[in-house]
Symmetry: C2
């Protein structure tokens, strides 16, 4: 178990890639300075646990790059992913000190961490941080509720299409591929991780991906490289309103 490299990334908040989306988004320069004083970076390798459920948590932080998952596990081993952490997402809960879920790095991961105690003090003295955190938490609550519909009522095919839409949408907003209509991305999760997110088995995930490929909804190169020729078609397969719920 190779420890994370001690001397990690060093970076100015000013040119941080998640500057305008993370908890610090609303901070003024002086507030940013205060955060800078208590922050440090940590790197994790793909597959590494960031936090173990039940462990004491003495930091909170933001995902800078890479992807992590939040998962819950029952005694008999059944696991359910309850959150997908993308760059700018926040980890940890001010005011609680043991972690309720496992946090696992799915890809190589860089996190911007704050020691919990000083961060909690800042929360009180800096409304811009608390307000941003409230906003982000409300967004996550909406996402969690949307996912409850997926888990409770959608078919396996719709579930897969829903998950692919999430990746496709995220990628479209980064790569500006809207123009061409074709969206291309790499799946950041294994079939098993997808199954854990969707409440399915990995075999069913595999079968449904094959089916969507066979039906021309997606194209596959290798196991991970996906092309979506027609986003509207994918959304239809996902069972979402085609006239896109523009919550953004």
């Amino acid at each position: 178990m190779p420890a994370d490299r001690g001397l990690a990334v060093s970076q100015e908040c000013a040119d941080c890639p998640i500057r305008h989306r993370a908890v610090c988004a609303r901070c003024e320069n002086d507030e940013l300075q205060q955060l800078e004083d208590i922050k440090y970076y940590r790197k994790f390798e793909a597959g590494q646990n960031v936090i173990w459920s039940g462990d004491r948590m003495d930091f909170v932080g933001s995902v800078v790059s890479g992807i992590a998952t939040l998962t819950q596990t029952m005694e008999d081993g059944r696991t359910q992913m309850v959150g997908l952490l993308l760059p700018s997402d926040f980890v940890g809960r001010p005011g609680r000190d043991t972690a309720p879920y496992d946090v696992v790095a799915t890809t190589d991961l860089v996190m911007c961490c704050f020691r919990k105690k000083p961060f909690e003090s800042l929360m009180v003295s800096t409304p811009n941080i608390a307000q941003r955190l409230l906003q982000m938490t409300l967004d996550e609550l909406d996402a969690a509720r949307e996912w409850m519909l997926v888990l409770g009522r959608k078919t396996a095919r719709e579930k897969i299409a829903s998950l692919l839409s999430i990746f496709a949408r995220r990628d479209a907003s980064i790569n500006m591929s809207m123009a061409t209509g074709r969206i291309v991305f790499d799946l950041p999760l294994t079939r098993e991780a997808m199954a854990d997110y969707l409440g399915l088995t990995l075999e069913t995930v595999s079968r449904q991906i094959s089916a969507l490929k066979r039906d021309g909804v997606i194209e596959l190169e290798g196991k991970r490289h996906v092309t979506v020729p027609d986003m509207d078609l994918l959304l239809e397969e996902a069972g979402d309103d085609s006239d896109g719920g523009m919550l953004v």
Copy 2:
């Protein structure tokens, strides 16, 4: 469609039953006074819609008494309940003006409402409100994620047991029935509403309740009156850690 009685409950915040649990929990007397200035009560009858998905929302508020549900519906009619609103729970989102879900009164319901604009101003000027709302939102996020495990990985029997545990736990904390070991309560939801919460059909709900009764996990008088002779047994059926995750 009988309108809600215009002249509704009038009440002092000081002797409000949800005073220490709602958004206002942390407020000092002067802050409470400011809330009192912008609040008004509304009553809804069982079955009435409080809010329709997509509608403009010009108020936020707290459930004072009764039970309401948050539900999401797909075009083809499949519905999933995404939240259960009990007394002291908060409805509405500062900073957003169209409702993302239907809110339906399941029993007769009293809400303490605040006009949205003034409330948003108070949020900025009164950290105690914003902080309490953040705390409550984080709790709801935890609850939503717990429910994702129920929806994604539990069997029908475990789902029913999980739902019954929620009601039982809530009731135990009110009635102090811990002593006797027997917990008694009335189901606040129809079989159909339970099905919508659990991602099942109402027939399956009915069958599993019958099965739990047959196996002595619960006792039933009529359709709604439930007795739990052994809470540990119920929790075991729900698939939860028997040594109770004491998050309280």
